[in-house]
C-alpha cells in the first residue's frame, strides 16, 4: 500500500518544517513580521504533517524504519514510525496546529517589549523539533540528543521573559531537573545497551537484561521520565516553569512535552525492557496515585491560574501512570486483553489531557492577553467581557472535571473499567491494591471537579475583582481560532470514542499483543455489552432535546422572558465585588480537611488575610539538598586556602601516598 509508507516521509516533512521555522525565525529580530507570517505558518505545516503521519501510522499500523547519515560513524541516527509513535505524533500535531494558529496573535504582544522575538521563534521551533526527534528516534543516542534539545529549548522559553526574577528561578530549577531526568534516562539506556550491546532500539527489544538490571533500568526510567512528567516528589519544577513560559509555550509544554515523557516511558518500559513484572506495576500504581491526589490537592489551592493548570497537569499525569501500572500488572498476570484496555485508557487520557490542557492554557493566555492578569483573586466576570474565550474555557473545565458527555469522562470511565476487572487477578495483594487505586482515582476526580469549578467560577463568573478585569477585552480572531481547533478535537474525542479508541488500540496492541475494540462508532463497549457500555452521542442528544423542550415549553408567551434586577443575596445591602467568595475562600474547607499535607503560612491582620500554600516536598527535600551542596562547596573551598606552602604540602603528601600505594 502506498499510503502506508507515507508515515515516515510525512514525519520527515514535519521535521524539515520545524527546522525551516527555526531558521527563518532568526530574521525576526530585524523583521518582527517574520514570526507571524513565516515561523508560525511553518509550524502549522509541521503540525499538519505530524498529524497526518500519526494518523497514517495508526491507521495502517506496522513500523517504518530509516537510518540518517548523522551521528557517530558507528552509531548513526535511526528513526522509525510505528503506532505508538503515531499516537503521540497525533497529539503533537493537534496541539501544535492550534498553537500555530494562536501564536501570531499572542506573540504580537511581545513586539513592543524588549524580549527577543527571534529567540522566541527559534526556540519554539527547536522545542518542537526536539519533541519530534524524541518521538521518531529509534536509537538511544538520537533519543537522548532530541530529548535534551527539547529540554534545553524549553528552558530558553521558560527564561524568555527573563527580567522577572521568578522566571529566572523557575528556568534554573527546570533546567536542573531536566538534567536529572536526562541523566537518569541516559543511564537507563546504558543498562539496556549493556545487555544488548547496541544502542538501536531494535537490538534492545531483542535482548533483555536480567531481572536485577531490568529493575535498575525501570527505576532509572521512572526517575527520568517521571521527573519530566511531574511525578511526585519530583514535580516541583513543573508548577514553576509552566506558568513562567509564554502561554502558547505553556500549552505545548503541558499538553505535549509531558506526553513526550510519557511516550519515552512507554517506549522504554513497555517496549524495550522486556517481560513485565508486577512489582513495576505496583510501583507505578502507588506513585501515580500519590501524584494524582497530591497534584489535585495543590491545584485546588492555587490562586495563579497558570499554576493551577500546571498542578492539574501533575494530577493528570499521575492518573495516566496509575493506568500504566494497571496495564503492567495485568500484563504480568497474563491478561493481555485487560492490559491493552488499561493501556488504551492511559493513552486516551493522554490525548484528552493534551487537548484539554492545551485549550485551557491557550485560554489562560487569552485571559492574560485580554485582562493582563492571571491571579484568580483579581479576575472575575470575564464570561461577559470575553464570551468566546469564556465558553471555550468552560468546555475545557468540564472536560477536565470528567463529566459526560465530555472527553475527560471517556478516559476516566475506561480506567475505571480496567480497574474493575481486578477480580480476574489471582494475587490477593493486587486484588486489594487495584480497587484502592480506583478509590484514589475517584477521590481525584471529585477534587478535580472542585478545582475547575473554582477556577472557572472565580475567573469567568461573578464580578470583576480588579480594574483590569473590568476592562478586559476579547482576543483576536487568530487566538480564538486556535482555541476553536482544540474544541473541535475535544468534540471528536468526546463524542466518537469508538473510532478514537480504535485508533489508539493499535498502539496498545503493539505493546501488549492483545486487541481492544470500540464496538462501532456509537457505542463504547470495551469488554462486553453486559459488563458496561457508554454512548456519549445519545447523552448529548437527550441533553439538547430536554433542554430545548424546556426552553420552548417554559418560555412565557406574553411578557419579556426575564427581568433584570440587583442581586438578591438574602436582602442584605447590594453586594459589592469584594463581598464575593474569593478563590482562597472557596477552597478553605478542603484546606482545613487536608491541612497536614500543605505547608501553610497564614497571616491575619485587621482587614487583611494573607495566605501562602507551599509545597512540602520543596522544603523537606529540595532546600536541604541545596544547603548540603553549599556546605560541601564551602568545605571544598577550604582546600584552596591561599597558602602556597600548604599547596606544596598537598603535592608532597600526594607523592608520598602514591609511592606508598605502589611500593
Amino acid at each position: 500500500m502506498m499510503l502506508a509508507a507515507l508515515a515516515l516521509p510525512l514525519a520527515g516533512v514535519a521535521v524539515l518544517a520545524a527546522l525551516a521555522s527555526a531558521a527563518v525565525s532568526l530574521a525576526a529580530s530585524r523583521w518582527p513580521r517574520v514570526l507571524s507570517w513565516l515561523s508560525f505558518p511553518l509550524l502549522g505545516v509541521c503540525a499538519l504533517a505530524a498529524l497526518a503521519s500519526g494518523i497514517d501510522a495508526l491507521w495502517f499500523g506496522g513500523a517504518h524504519q530509516a537510518v540518517l547519515p548523522l551521528g557517530l560513524p558507528w552509531l548513526p541516527w535511526e528513526v522509525s514510525v510505528d503506532p505508538l509513535t503515531g499516537v503521540f505524533l497525533l497529539i503533537l500535531g493537534a496541539v501544535l496546529l492550534a498553537v500555530a494558529v494562536y501564536g501570531p496573535g499572542y506573540a504580537r504582544e511581545f513586539r513592543n517589549g524588549r524580549d527577543s522575538l527571534a529567540a522566541l521563534g527559534v526556540f519554539t521551533a527547536l522545542f518542537v523539533l526536539g519533541m519530534l526527534g524524541v518521538l521518531l528516534a529509534a536509537d538511544a543516542f538520537l533519543f537522548m540528543v532530541a530529548w535534551e534539545l527539547m529540554s534545553l529549548a524549553s528552558y530558553f522559553l521558560v527564561a524568555f521573559q527573563h527580567e522577572q526574577a521568578e522566571h529566572r528561578h523557575a528556568a534554573f530549577l527546570y533546567l536542573l531537573m531536566a538534567h536529572v531526568a536526562g541523566l537518569a534516562i541516559l543511564l537507563a539506556f546504558g543498562v539496556l545497551a549493556a545487555a544488548s550491546g547496541s544502542f538501536s532500539f531494535a537490538a534492545m527489544r531483542a535482548v533483555h537484561p536480567d531481572a536485577f538490571w531490568a529493575a535498575v533500568a525501570f527505576t532509572l526510567a521512572l526517575l527520568g521520565f517521571g521527573t519530566k512528567a511531574g511525578l511526585a516528589p519530583l514535580h516541583v519544577w513543573l508548577p514553576e516553569a509552566h506558568p513562567a513560559a509564554p502561554s502558547h509555550i505553556s500549552a505545548l509544554m503541558s499538553a505535549v512535552m509531558l506526553k513526550v515523557a510519557l511516550y519515552g516511558f512507554l517506549r522504554v518500559v513497555f517496549d524495550l525492557l522486556g517481560p513485565p513484572q508486577w512489582g513495576f506495576g505496583v510501583t507505578l500504581v502507588l506513585v501515580g496515585g500519590a501524584t494524582a491526589v497530591m497534584g489535585v490537592l495543590f491545584a485546588l489551592q492555587q490562586t495563579d491560574l497558570k499554576r493551577l493548570l500546571a498542578y492539574s497537569s501533575i494530577e493528570n499525569l499521575g492518573i495516566i501512570f496509575l493506568a500504566l501500572g494497571l496495564a503492567q500488572i495485568f500484563q504480568a498476570a497474563g491478561h493481555p486483553a485487560l492490559a491493552a484496555l488499561a493501556l488504551v485508557a492511559a493513552l486516551y487520557q493522554a490525548l484528552n489531557h493534551a487537548l484539554l490542557k492545551g485549550l485551557l492554557f491557550l485560554g489562560a493566555g487569552a485571559v492574560l492577553h485580554g485582562a493582563h492578569e492571571r491571579s484568580l483573586d483579581h479576575l472575575g466576570g470575564l464570561l461577559r467581557r470575553m464570551p468566546r474565550t469564556g465558553w471555550f474555557f468552560l468546555i475545557g473545565c468540564l472536560g477536565m472535571a470528567a463529566v459526560p458527555p465530555f472527553n475527560g469522562f471517556v478516559s476516566e470511565w475506561l480506567t475505571f473499567q480496567a480497574a474493575l476487572q481486578a477480580w480476574q487477578l489471582h494475587d490477593s495483594l493486587l486484588r486489594i491494591l487495584v480497587p484502592l487505586a480506583a478509590a484514589a482515582l475517584a477521590l481525584t476526580a471529585a477534587l478535580g471537579a472542585a478545582v475547575f469549578v473554582r477556577a472557572f467560577g472565580t475567573a469567568f463568573l461573578g464580578r470583576a475583582r480588579s480594574r483590569q478585569a473590568r476592562h478586559a477585552h476579547e482576543v483576536g480572531r487568530g487566538m480564538l481560532a486556535g482555541q476553536a481547533l482544540l474544541v473541535l478535537g475535544i468534540a471528536i474525542a468526546a463524542l466518537l470514542p469508538g473510532p478514537v479508541l480504535g485508533l489508539l488500540a493499535r498502539a496498545a496492541t503493539q505493546l501488549t499483543g492483545a486487541a481492544v475494540t470500540g464496538d462501532g462508532w456509537l457505542w463504547l463497549t470495551p469488554i462486553s455489552p453486559r459488563v458496561a457500555s457508554y454512548a456519549p452521542l445519545p447523552i448529548l442528544a437527550v441533553l439538547l432535546v430536554v433542554g430545548a423542550l424546556g426552553v420552548a415549553l417554559l418560555r412565557p408567551r406574553r411578557r419579556a422572558a426575564i427581568r433584570r434586577a440587583v442581586p438578591w443575596d438574602c436582602g442584605f445591602a447590594p453586594p459589592t465585588p469584594r463581598m464575593q467568595y474569593s478563590a482562597a475562600g472557596f477552597a478553605q474547607p478542603q484546606r482545613r480537611v487536608f491541612a497536614p499535607l500543605y505547608a501553610l503560612h497564614e497571616q491575619v491582620t485587621p482587614g487583611r488575610y494573607e495566605l501562602a500554600v507551599g509545597d512540602r516536598a520543596w522544603r523537606q527535600l529540595y532546600l536541604p539538598l541545596g544547603a548540603l551542596t553549599d556546605r560541601v562547596a564551602d568545605r571544598a573551598r577550604r582546600m584552596q586556602a591561599g597558602h602556597v606552602r600548604r599547596y606544596l604540602a598537598w603535592s608532597l603528601i600526594t607523592l608520598l601516598v602514591l609511592l606508598w600505594i605502589v611500593s
Binding site: R638, Q640, A641, G642, H643, R645, S651, L652, L655, L659
Partner: protein, 234 residues
C-alpha cells in the same frame, strides 16, 4: 657488596653523595639566608664533583660537560645572583627560623628512610656501585620539597627548588650516567631562565607587598572571594 671491595673512585662518589644529603638537611634547617645560599653552593659543588668522578669512572665525556655546566650554574652563577638579590633587597640580616626544628628534622629523617624503601626495588636492579645513590638523590628531592613546605621566606623556597634540581641531577648521574646532552642543555637552560624569573618576581613581590614572606601571599584564597571590598583586577 663490600664497601672495601669497591674502587676508590666509587668510594669517593658514595662519600660525596652522603655529604650532599647532609647539605640537604643543612638547607632544611639553616635559618640565615646568606648561610643557606652558601650551603646550596656547596651542595652544587658536591653534585658536580659526583658527576665528574662518575665520568672519570666510566670514561663518559658527556658527564664532564654536565659537571662543568652544573658547576658554572649551581656553584657560581645562581649563588651569585642570589647574593646580589639579597643585597639589593637588603635581606642580609634576615633570618627565617623554623617553627618546629626538631620535628622538621625528624620528618626529614623519615623521608630518607621512605626514599630508601621506595628506591630499593629500583636500585637492586642496577649492578654498579653507585646504585644506592638513587635513594640518596630521591631523598634530596623530597627534602627539597620539604624545605619549600616549611620555609616562609621566598628566597629559601627558591633554594629548596634548586635543591630539588640538584637531587634530580644527582639521580640522572648516578642511575644512568647522565641524560643525553640535548636534554641536559635544555634542563640547564630552563633552570637558568627560572632563576632569572625568580629574580624578577622577588622585585615584583617586594614592590607589591614589601616583604618576601610568602605567607602574606594569600590574597587569592577562595575564602577571600567572599570579601566584598577587594576588587580583583581583570
Amino acid at each position: 657488596m663490600n664497601l672495601a671491595a669497591l674502587p676508590l673512585l666509587d668510594q669517593a662518589v658514595l662519600v660525596l653523595a652522603a655529604m650532599a644529603l647532609f647539605s640537604a638537611f643543612a638547607l632544611l634547617a639553616q635559618s640565615r639566608l646568606l648561610s643557606a645560599i652558601h650551603v646550596f653552593a656547596w651542595q652544587g659543588a658536591l653534585v658536580a664533583a659526583v658527576a665528574a668522578l662518575t665520568g672519570a669512572a666510566s670514561g663518559d665525556v658527556n658527564l664532564y660537560i654536565s659537571a662543568a655546566i652544573t658547576f658554572v650554574l649551581k656553584v657560581l652563577l645562581i649563588p651569585w645572583m642570589l647574593h646580589r638579590l639579597v643585597r639589593r633587597l637588603a635581606l642580609e640580616r634576615q633570618a627565617d627560623p623554623l617553627p618546629y626544628p626538631a620535628l622538621t628534622l625528624l620528618a626529614g629523617a623519615a623521608i630518607v628512610v621512605f626514599a630508601d624503601w621506595v628506591a630499593a626495588p629500583v636500585a637492586q636492579f642496577e649492578h654498579s656501585a653507585t646504585r644506592n645513590v638513587i635513594a640518596i638523590s630521591l631523598a634530596i628531592v623530597l627534602l627539597g620539597m620539604l624545605t619549600m613546605v616549611v620555609r616562609r621566606q621566598a628566597l629559601a623556597q627558591v633554594l629548596g627548588f634548586m635543591a630539588i634540581e640538584n637531587g634530580l641531577f644527582l639521580a640522572a648521574v648516578a642511575s644512568t650516567h647522565g641524560m643525553p646532552l640535548v636534554v641536559e642543555l635544555g634542563v640547564a637552560f630552563d633552570v637558568l631562565v627560572a632563576m632569572v624569573l625568580f629574580g624578577v618576581f622577588f622585585l615584583q613581590i617586594k614592590d607589591s607587598i614589601d616583604t618576601l614572606d610568602i605567607d602574606r601571599l594569600s590574597q587569592l584564597a577562595s575564602s577571600v572571594e567572599q570579601d566584598e571590598d577587594t576588587e580583583p583586577p581583570r
